[in-house]
């Protein structure tokens, strides 16, 4: 069982620079057909300073942490038993290529169901940009299968 004393634990903060090439690669991998997300001229014509970060890519940037397995190591979770149960984003501002985004993740909750057969971890991450402006709040619910 995951030790519930980790509820409220703050994971290491980190800063990630949004790279144009990664945004283009993400557009390709998601079948994106809207040129605003892969053509900088089209992005500027639509009023963006550079390629926009699409809505779910903030979750990907969170994986650019210097230690992306920090939470699993802390909680001693086997990656082969992990499933993504829920994902939520609240948006306060757009982010773009060239931005330096700061991620502040914390373990918001840990609970179990079915007598511990399923354990759940809630991670909440605040994202701010290089101007100190709030960009988004992420909420990730992970389930661990213990059977």
């Amino acid at each position: 069982m995951i030790d519930k004393r980790h509820i409220g634990h703050t994971l290491p903060n980190f800063t990630v620079e949004v790279e144009t090439g990664r945004l283009r690669f993400f557009a390709k991998a998601t079948g994106q057909t809207d040129p605003v997300y892969c053509d900088e001229d089209k992005a500027r014509a639509a009023g963006h300073p550079s390629l926009p970060v699409p809505p779910t890519f903030l979750f990907c940037l969170e994986m650019e942490s210097p230690n992306p397995t920090a939470m699993r190591e802390l909680l001693n979770i086997d990656i082969g038993r992990v499933l993504h149960a829920e994902q939520h984003f609240s948006y306060q501002a757009m982010a773009h290529a060239g931005d330096r985004l700061r991620f502040e993740p914390r373990i918001a909750d840990i609970y179990d169901k079915k007598n511990g057969a399923l354990e759940f971890v809630v991670r909440e991450t605040r994202v701010t940009n290089q101007h100190g402006q709030q960009v988004a709040d992420l909420r990730t619910l992970t389930v661990i299968r213990n059977t």
Binding site: T30, P54, P55, H88
Partner: protein, 138 residues
């Protein structure tokens, strides 16, 4: 892009229909997303973990839902997006994203629409279900 002036509660969004998810698509998403969990791309690892095969990243289908939304309205209008991953999407499944405006509310000085979103497979089975909140420019 949608004309919000003509929009009513109950309206549906243009669906996004995707081709079957290939192993190649999962490899591309692994690299592009930075989600390097081998369970999505390494069959040996997936079997050792008790799964019959590799399976799609839930976040790939969530990215498809986001594509449907940003095709419908500019991303600047998106206030929130949340989903529950209801069931695993297997290799070869074809995902269709749908959205329906279910409510209109006043919040923080703007009109916001609640949009119920889903990702279903070719058999109509739900894979993701959730909700987006979109601000109207008026």
């Amino acid at each position: 892009m949608v004309d919000f002036a003509c929009l009513q509660v109950g309206d549906t969004l243009p669906p996004l229909v995707m081709p079957p998810i290939s192993r190649h698509a999962l490899a591309l998403y692994c690299g592009a997303s930075g989600d390097h969990n081998p369970i999505h791309v390494d069959l040996d690892f997936a079997r050792a973990a008790g799964m019959p095969d590799v399976f799609a990243h839930g976040m790939l289908s969530m990215a498809y839902i986001a594509r449907m939304l940003t095709h419908w309205t500019a991303q600047e209008n998106l206030r929130s997006l949340g989903v529950r991953f209801v069931a695993i999407t297997q290799v070869g499944e074809s995902i269709t994203c749908t959205g329906k405006v279910v409510d209109s509310v006043q919040q923080d000085g703007e009109t916001r629409l609640r949009v119920v979103v889903t990702a279903i497979n070719q058999n109509g089975e739900t894979r993701l279900t959730g909700e987006a909140v979109v601000a109207t420019p008026h």
